[in-house]
Symmetry: C2
Subunit: 191 residues, 2 copies
DNA sequence: AGTCCTTCTTAAAGCTCGTAAGCAACTGAT
DNA sequence: ATCAGTTGCTTACGAGCTTTAAGAAGGACT
């Protein structure tokens, strides 16, 4: 039996591609083994179990997304940076829905900490440097930006915006305008 | 064999409770049958298949959430309404994580249209009446609010905010302040 | 060539969904 | 009150999934 040259990396990569095609939830050990032309049991030499495989895909997705966002951010600041970052995010989700879903996998504290996840908040913080936010508001704004980006993409993906005729791209751009305006005028403990 | 008195409604209800306990993804026909003390095959007399069951739970969750939001909204306007609505949302998600996850299930256009989903955007529109938005911005704002609420709750639930010491409740309240400020000063096609 | 580690296969147990066939219980009509 | 007919449940089963265990085959190294 000729060896198929399976490695954890190639498995993860293939699982990510499979996720984009059939959905992250449908990535199974069996399906992945089929894609490699080996028997399911063979994968267990490279990967602990299905959960392990999923976490690997999640980390891959987070890393790719961080990479893409970093590139988009390079040399930009202010609203330019905000828009580029947000579009990198949304673009990745649209091109790689399976990977994007994977990135939202629940991971334990440890695993999440040594993933690319922290880089995401660091980058968001970098964007905020282009605005004049008090230190105390930094984390709040980071969380709000993350929430809005993720929420928008997430609702768009499950079809939450289908029922209103208005262009989803238009609303996205107006949302970014709104976030920009908000960051330039962040309320200092509002009434 | 004494009849267990299974009905589609009771199944859906039980599935929702089960979802909150073990996670929506882990609600299986088998587990549900166990909870009812019947054999798995018995459920297929009341429910078409697993997908059907999931959709029922999703619709239940959407309806409950709409109900709760409507109650919260009653008699309020402006920022009060915004905050009450948002907290109803987040509160439901925290109390019923499984149901909340179910509410995000992908449904086809038809099914979604006759669920409580449209009521959610209607209520959001109602909130906006307390602010002075141009008609053209309505849908954009509805989408943005939905995105921010859902995104925040969603990221909070997968543990995305664990890595920063700042209180998650604090950030939530500041985010609502920010949204309120934003709605009172919505950019008219900003530069 | 012989040894050893790694990768793969086969085999099997235990779980899942879903269908089919049959029996048991309740319904209503005579 | 008995006797259909309908409905709800069971058993039985096929097919697919995950995971472990044991063994065969590939490749490296002596």
């Amino acid at each position: 039996m000729a060896r198929a040259g399976v490695t954890a990396e190639r498995l993860t990569q293939a699982a990510a591609e499979l996720a984009d095609e059939i959905g992250f939830q449908n990535v199974t050990v069996s399906a992945l083994a089929r894609a490699f032309g080996v028997k399911p049991a063979a994968l267990y030499s490279h990967v602990k179990d299905l959960q392990d495989l999923r976490v690997r895909v999640a980390k891959l997705a987070l890393a790719e997304l961080a990479e893409r966002a970093a590139t988009a951010l390079a040399g930009r600041s202010g609203k330019d940076a905000l828009v580029a970052f947000a579009n990198a995010y949304r673009g990745y989700a649209k091109e790689h829905p399976g990977r994007y879903a994977a990135a939202q996998l629940e991971m334990d504290y440890e695993t999440a900490a040594d993933s690319a996840a922290p880089r995401h908040s660091e980058m968001t913080r970098a964007i905020l440097r282009g605005y004049d936010l008090p230190d105390s508001a930094q984390t709040d704004a980071v969380r709000m930006l993350g929430a809005t980006f993720h929420g928008y993409v997430s609702l768009e993906m499950v079809g939450g915006f289908r029922h209103t005729p208005r262009s989803v791209d238009e609303s996205w751009n107006r949302t970014l305008d709104a976030l920009d305006a908000l960051l330039r005028n962040w309320p200092s403990h509002g009434r």
